[in-house]
């Protein structure tokens, strides 16, 4: 080596990258070269000094905040993973509907009852619509008081006139068409959310449709829809479904009924993502119209030692934003 290689070889030795031969070569050189020996000493001194820079430590507060965030993110991931992907399933559902319709046709041919009666609740079996889809207007909605099972439900997005369509099988295929603010359409959607879903996927899809068509920037939600969503938020067994109901309710104009459902969710829902959604919704509503029970609940959450860290932080931050 010559003197120009001193720094390179010195660094390699300090970083543990130098080979044994290279170390020996460096030692031999500095033994014979006073200038390089001094340079190497300065280099080692610099390296040592850099190493004395105190190491920043993870504080308990940073650990708490970050673990809370990570937990929240993991929960979000699980909720996302739960969400159904209905698009590719739709053809399968339609195929199933065709099979069901064929079966229904056979039954019809055998003379089962005809059109919907005036008192559907009194009838244990479903009245049959002879013609589908229906004409303009939201006609064709069957009586729902007997909690009939509507199978193979399908949704058609709004057309150029803003009309949506909901297809389903009762004893034959029906399709109800109308604008979201048509009472019959709203009633049917509320029914699909509240009573008709046998699986979390079906219920989620019904809530998604509600979310697409109702809210502050769309049609006002009917009382039936609000009731269907609040009961879902309060009692559905699936956290993903409850979260979806919470998100949809949060997009509606707040009412005492909605606020009460969120307060209950904040107090007792087992899922932190749902409680977080409740905090967001309650805080947004309280900014419009301050409410003592909301503020009290947020204060309790903000200091609850049993609560998830991120929920506590969110409650505190919501109170701060409201100047409490």
């Amino acid at each position: 080596m010559d003197c120009r290689d001193l720094t390179t070889l010195g660094i390699e030795r300090l970083t543990g990258e130098a080979s044994e031969a290279s170390r020996r070569e460096l030692d031999a050189h500095v033994d014979a070269c006073e200038s390089c020996r001094r340079d190497l000493e300065r280099l080692e001194e610099l390296w040592t000094t850099l190493g004395r820079d105190p190491e920043p430590e993870v504080t308990p507060e940073f650990r708490r905040r970050t673990l809370g965030l990570l937990e929240e993110e993991m929960i979000r991931g699980r909720v996302k993973a739960f969400r159904p992907t209905p698009t590719f399933r739709r053809p399968l559902l339609q195929a199933a509907a065709l099979v069901a319709a064929a079966g229904v046709g056979y039954l019809l041919a055998r003379g089962l009852p005809g059109r919907d009666s005036a008192s559907p609740a009194a009838s244990p079996s479903w009245p049959v619509a002879a013609v589908t889809p229906t004409a303009p207007g939201a006609a064709g909605v069957p009586g729902l008081a007997g909690n009939p099972r509507l199978a193979n439900v399908s949704y058609r997005p709004a057309d150029k006139d803003g009309r949506v369509a909901i297809g389903f099988d009762v004893t034959t295929r029906r399709e109800v068409e109308g604008k979201p603010n048509d009472p019959e359409v709203a009633k049917l959607l509320a029914y699909l959310v509240a009573h008709n879903s046998e699986s979390a996927g079906e219920k989620s899809r019904a809530i998604e449709v509600v979310s697409e068509h109702y809210g502050t920037n769309a049609a006002p939600a009917s009382p039936e829809i609000v009731a269907a969503l609040t009961s879902t938020l309060r009692a559905d067994g699936n956290p993903g479904v409850r979260k979806k109901a919470a998100d949809t309710l949060a997009s509606f104009q707040s009412t005492p009924e909605i606020r009460a459902a969120f307060l209950q969710a904040l107090k007792s829902d087992k899922n932190p993502a749902v409680r977080l959604a409740a905090i967001d919704a309650l805080a947004a509503a309280a900014r419009q119209s301050p409410d003592a029970s909301t503020i009290e609940s947020l204060k309790e959450k903000a200091v609850d030692p049993q609560e998830n860290g991120f929920v506590r932080a969110k409650a505190a931050s919501a109170l701060k934003a409201m100047s409490f």
Partner: protein, 189 residues
Amino acid sequence: MNAGSDDAGLLERIRRGDTDGAAELFERYAPALLRFTDRMLSDRASAEEVTQEVFLKVISRAHQYDGRAGVASWLFAIAANACRDRRRRERRAAVVPLESVAEPRARTEGVESVIASRERRAAVRQALSELSEEQREALVLARYHGMPYAEIAKTLGISVGAVKTRIFRAVETLKARFSEGESSWTAAT
């Protein structure tokens, strides 16, 4: 730094939605990542934010980890990118009134005045902050994290030769920076 298959197992648990896996990864790597981001950004609050970002990105991208580099390298690569993004944003956002811009330090000020007026830590941080971002990344990984050149190369996506060059230049810059106040520097250490 080489937790190997254990680390890969942790990522697999995270992919499956295991919250405890994410917490274990945090406990294992947060100290090192915080040290790295703190030295790269010279600001504790920004370092904490970026470290949090790194872990959030790891959760959302766990499925993208392909095992070609070690998990540690992958994490530091995410951290290095996050630090670069943060500095880029700060540079764009920084609108500093002309009158508040400090005059360049006079050559005569040297290390003596720095050490005289600041703690050793501040002097080291000052010196590090005067390195280019590329030089600092390589030097910090080598000096403070004990990463071999080959691993630094994988982490930063450069060749081993480029790693050597960056560290060499960083050391030369630091030597020049402290050359004038050698006695004070030594005394401070």
